[in-house]
């Protein structure tokens, strides 16, 4: 089950809107597909993300995967804990494994993302 209050991308990022900010991470499905995450590279606070552009990299033991910005906006926080504990992405992808907090440039972008039901359907077909 994916959390009902989140929005999702086809590339398996999630977004949780909190006021005029969005918290961003990758889904449990993505974390499971990647396997054990051993390295996460995130943008610096203050960087401006463009929706759909790559914002970082997540690496498992075997694979390197790009992270795609689900929304546009300035990075207001990055999860520094992932530097020392990248495995949080596997163990708690929707909680302690969060990646970025972004100041939303255009809140309407969120409405264009998948809701939980649509995302579950996407992963069921995968």
């Amino acid at each position: 089950m994916v959390p009902a209050d989140l929005r999702f991308t086809k590339e398996h990022e999630w977004v949780r809107v909190e006021g005029d900010e969005a918290v961003v991470g990758i889904t449990e499905f993505a974390a499971h597909q990647l396997g054990d995450v051993v390295f996460v590279e995130l943008p610096a606070v203050g960087r401006t993300l463009a929706q759909h552009a790559t914002f970082g990299v997540v690496e498992s033991v075997k694979a390197v995967s790009d992270l795609f910005a689900p929304v546009s906006g300035d990075v207001v926080a990055a999860n520094d804990a992932l530097g020392g504990q990248p495995e949080l992405v596997n163990s708690d992808p929707y909680g302690e494994g969060w990646m970025l907090r972004v100041k939303l440039a255009d809140a309407a972008q969120v409405d264009g993302l998948l809701d939980a039901a649509a995302y579950e359907q996407l992963t069921a077909e995968a």
């Binding site: 396997g35 054990d36 051993v38 390295f39 590279e41 498992s60 033991v61 075997k62 390197v64």
Partner: protein, 371 residues
């Protein structure tokens, strides 16, 4: 233009066992093989701390037999198989006339006139064809036993305790890089003390029709010891920590043994000609422009296969394998660097997504088991 369709991959004879254990299955070198079960890190750590069970039925087993089998292999490979005592094995390589590597191998002496050459799955056909060609004129024949042979490895500090009660021979009496005939779980087997993990362990060669009996018995016997099934993913991280090359990454047709820092394996002192001798003698005389080394990254990032190695900011080498070492907690890699940079302690850099990450040349292996 038409593409000939790729042949359907060969399922490992243990495919149903892997599926029952929840493995992710991939097409590897034309075989359907398990890449991982619970997870690469867990499988890796279990092999280092307890034991791992590996299905290696995809490997190529080529039996060379006849009164001139040893002489034929000495002429075909870079090593000197006739110097092997009965029941012993050595690491070897097969090269082209130009000294380039066709494959790396283990050669086991099974009898006075009987040897087994174990080749990588991806090269088994190439090696088999080359050996058949090179055996011509010798009183020796090759029997490709690859599809008839199942191979299961148990590796790790508990492997002896797991195998011993199941075998009718004493595994402790088998030397490192030795092989003995006996039975395991009642199945006639050849038990070799070889592996690709850096741990003590055994490889059990059996008739493919009975390999599931051996797998099941080892799996069950291993449970109280903490044994887990290990896929190709952790096999790769284990061998990388142990500093062992992988054909296709560190080794290929355009690479000679001296570049791969494996010159010690080439027996130029053995009598008689062998394929590649002239080219390899010249390389041994002249030296090589590049060398395979171990690297540890000194800043954040993971070096991966194909990433450039930078010397003074200029691309001068290539990473062949790299990962975050589960045992050491450091990003480790093997890479080709210009020979002047191959000295231990030299600082180079790896280009990772446009950034230059410092890396130090370190001795191989990265990991050595506590003795």
């Amino acid at each position: 233009m038409t593409d000939s369709p790729a042949p359907a991959p060969q399922p490992t004879p243990l495919l149903d066992r892997h599926e029952a254990l929840g493995a992710k299955i991939v097409d590897f070198a034309g075989w359907l093989m398990p890449i991982q079960y619970a997870g690469i890190l867990e499988e890796h750590r279990a092999t280092r701390s307890a034991a791992g069970l590996f299905d290696l039925s995809h490997m190529g087993e080529l039996v060379v037999e006849g009164p001139e089998a040893g002489a034929a292999l000495a002429a075909a490979l870079v090593t000197d198989p006739p110097s092997l005592a009965l029941g012993r094995a050595h690491y070897s390589m097969i090269c082209g006339e130009d000294g380039g590597l066709l494959d790396d191998l283990i050669v086991y002496r099974l009898g006075p006139d009987r040897f087994m050459v174990v080749a990588n799955a991806s090269n088994a056909r190439t090696v088999s064809d080359a050996l058949v060609h090179r055996l011509d004129g010798f009183k020796a024949v090759l029997d490709d036993r690859s599809l008839a042979t199942g191979l299961v490895a148990v590796q790790g500090p508990r492997s002896m305790a797991i195998l011993r009660p199941l075998a009718d021979i004493d595994p402790a009496a088998i030397h490192y890089y030795g092989i003995a005939e006996g039975s395991v779980a009642g199945v006639p087997a050849m038990v070799a003390r070889t592996g690709y993990t850096g741990e003590d362990g055994f490889e059990v060669f059996v008739d493919v029709a009975r390999v599931h009996e051996v797998w099941d018995a080892l799996y069950a016997a291993g449970q109280p010891h903490g044994l887990v099934a290990v896929g190709l993913g952790a096999r790769d991280t284990l061998r990388l920590e142990a500093g062992m090359p992988l054909y296709g990454n560190e080794l290929d047709r355009a690479t000679n043994p001296y570049e791969a820092s494996l010159g010690r394996v080439v027996k130029l002192g053995k009598p008689g000609p062998f394929v590649g001798r002239e080219a390899l003698e010249q390389v041994a005389r002249d030296g090589t422009a590049r060398r395979l080394v171990g690297l540890v990254l000194r800043d954040r990032g993971i070096a991966r296969h194909g990433y450039p190695v930078l010397v003074d900011g200029v691309a001068a080498g290539t990473v062949t394998s790299g990962t975050m070492s589960p045992t050491l907690g450091k990003a480790i890699a093997m890479a080709y660097v210009p020979t002047p940079q191959a000295e231990i302690g030299t600082m180079v850099a790896v280009e990772i997504r446009g950034a230059s990450v410092p890396a130090e040349v370190v001795p191989l292996p990265f990991y050595k088991r506590p003795s």
